[in-house]
Amino acid sequence: MTNDLAKGGFAHPSRRVFLAGAASLVAWSQMPRYAFAGQSRDPRLVVVILRGALDGLAVVPPIGDPAYASLRGDLAVGAPKIGGASQLDGIFALNDAMPNFRRRFASGEATVVHAVATPYRDRSHFDGQDVLENGTENPRFSDSGWLNRAVAALPKGDAVRPVAGLAVSPVVPLVLRGDAPVFTWMPTNLQASGPDTADRLLSLYTHSDQELARIFAAGRKIDMLAGTGGAPGRDMAGQFRSVAAGTGKLLAREDGPRVAAISYDGWDTHAQEGPEDGRLDKLLQALDGAFDALALQLGPAWKDTVVVAVTEFGRTAQMNGTDGTDHGTGTVALLLGGAVRGGRIVADWPGLGPTQLYQGRDLKPTTDLRAVLKGVLRDHLGISERVLANDVFPGSLMAKPLDNLIA
């Protein structure tokens, strides 16, 4: 059933789809249990997509860069008179909105890759997210996602895992679309209809519409497995947290999925960005709370988990005329989890001087995001470099997997 679902259920893997609400979707894929080089590890991977272009310079501000404070003006979080961020190393600080991430950074469970970008160099959210998710260099090059292709490429191990998919939400994001089976799940407030009505409907679909039958059957299975997965929170932080908590709960299950994707919207901070006490501050607090909820629900499985948070591109180095930032290029990727080799910033720092900026306006990307993701997929999930370069991120031979991201 699950294989049919994946192939036929989402029959139009056309474009990236936006998700509902501020925080909306977790999708995951069933994954066969596999022997990992004789170890007993059972790795989990959570990809968090921050839609709208995260301002990396406000999350991990380069307070030691001489150009930073003047470029950012009132938005220079971490600068002497502004505050709101605390030092991580000689150059970088971390926004104080993320105390949980800071704690994990200190204990070696979190790391930051800075001045990172996908190969996409224009500034459309929609095309930028397509590139982020399809894993190629062009929004039109693929209708499937790199995370789905990674799942399809996993080394097959010992046992056949029981049917697992679950998931929540209106849609599968592009990053998880493709041949490998995927399910969606989302917290809900609605009361389900009685089982008899659902049985009759499934019978009707089975007789008259195979596509609806497959998808509806999967939905019922998900409902049974997720149970009362927790109603969505009322405010943004609550919504972020409930999506993450549900994901963590399902990934923690012995028979649960092992790869998940979550999307959080709202990072497009063109005006009144408020990295220290406004909108971005609230978003980062909500994200930090979501990380915490994941760790909490994963419990003992957290030690085998990697969470990687990525965005389609960064924002302008200089603030714009309305106390915000416009679409830019380089930004950060955040990694955390018990399986991460943390406690450091990974950056080939390009500097923020006038001649150092990309096109005179953006943080210049010096690390290909695909290199980060390939490093994680190789060392955490055991996918070979050849498969990564050919199938998962086709055309990425030059972006060598980053070493030492995984403990």
């Binding site: 936006f18 509902a20 609400g21 849609v171 969606t184 389900a192 998808i215 998900i222």
Partner: protein, 506 residues
Amino acid sequence: MSQEEAALALKRFGLGPRPGDIERIAVDPKAAVLAELDAADITRLDDDRLPSTPDAFVAIRHDQVARSAARKTADMPAKGTAPAAAVAAMKSAPPPAAPAMMAVGGNGGMAAGAAAAGMAAAAPPKPPAGPQNRSMVIYLDEIDARVPRQLAAEIGYVERLVAFWTNHFAVQSDKNEQIRGLAGAFEREAIRPHVLGRFEDMLVAATRHPAMLLSLDNVDSAGPHSPAGQKRHMGLNENHAREILELHTVGVDGGYTQADVTEFSRMLTGWTFARDVDKPAAGTFAFKADWHEPGDRRLMGKTYPAPGGKQPADQQGLAALHDLAVHPDTARHVATKLVRHFVADSPPPAIVDAVAATFTATGGDLKAVSRALVENDASWAGERKFLTPQLFLVASMRAYGVPIEGKRLVSLLRELGQEPWCPPSPEGYHDDAASWLSPDGLTTRLAIADSIAQRVRFDDGPAAIATQLFGPSLSDDTRRTMERAESGRQAAALLLMSPEFQWSRT
């Protein structure tokens, strides 16, 4: 044959069949759809309850100020009584009028009340929490006002077009509460008057509307070399300019560069609206000349000189909007989206070509464009479309003649991921099956169908109404399933979930 075509007309171009509709338009379904385009005042939505944009803006601002003051009071040690503004905001909308046509279900007002009561336990409304603010009250009034219109529409092609264009020029209600309170007025004042008029007029009206200026951050964008830029260090915000190019006109493949985006944003500096509630102009578009970046501008290969003499400098931006409105890439972009919305998730190129050609030949006459889409025989063939959540709920209300109260409607649409005027990005909601057909989406639809079905009574047995709604497209499987249902409610829920109902054709 023409009954099948009638069923298709109501699903593909309309808001879904009501009992008797298929019979009524079967003589000539295509003519019936086209006739809607010529009906007098069909695009207008007048309702005394609904404030104009300026009135809504002023009311929202007063409410915001009052709540802010109340919060400060509440922070003091002695907790006071509820502030007057919050009490005033408790005003609830009157129940929607009963629809013109009530085939089943009894009294609309009573049914709505019962549903709202039953809802309290089953589905508590989601955020925003706390006392209802003025923006939310206006927003829900706007939703309530549209329901009778959706129920009464003979076919609903024009209402579909209205929704299409409001989604094309999407404003995001979640971004700021002022936008939520203005979104309905945006549709009534910037979109509806032009839905069968000229695209350029709609483009200009949408671009200048306060809800859009807020949603795409142009309200404070000023030229660095303008007097305001020099004196007050105001500067550019390029968001609105970029999305006009990428989303509203030529599209992402329209051949513009970052330099074009920046130049266009300079042309739009000073395009804002009056926000001082003590001024008579509050809530109306304002061009602030001293915020405008001086000088000639160059956009997509054409120079737009700085307006000379007494010409107002917003002429520069208007000239650019004019050229964008009639650009061939705009015609193609709009035609592709229209065909995808109404006909097929993968728009057949021949139909797109024909619709784009009409757009170009008429200089963006949207009545001609809407007509061309329906007149094209190929638009009546082709694949099936899966109902969006909004269409699913409107079609359900029409099928049983049961209005749903605005507050509940919004709550259900949140569950389904398509809250009105609240897309998660300026791109608006997608309308293809890939966006909406999912395991969770289907089980949620069943839960909703089941709750709507509580309010339905069948006088002549369930199969009779299925025949009236679907005509010859009713399958034997669906008919049998309904006849064997254990209760009228179960039959009613299953009908809403049947393949005939969920797809534009089977």
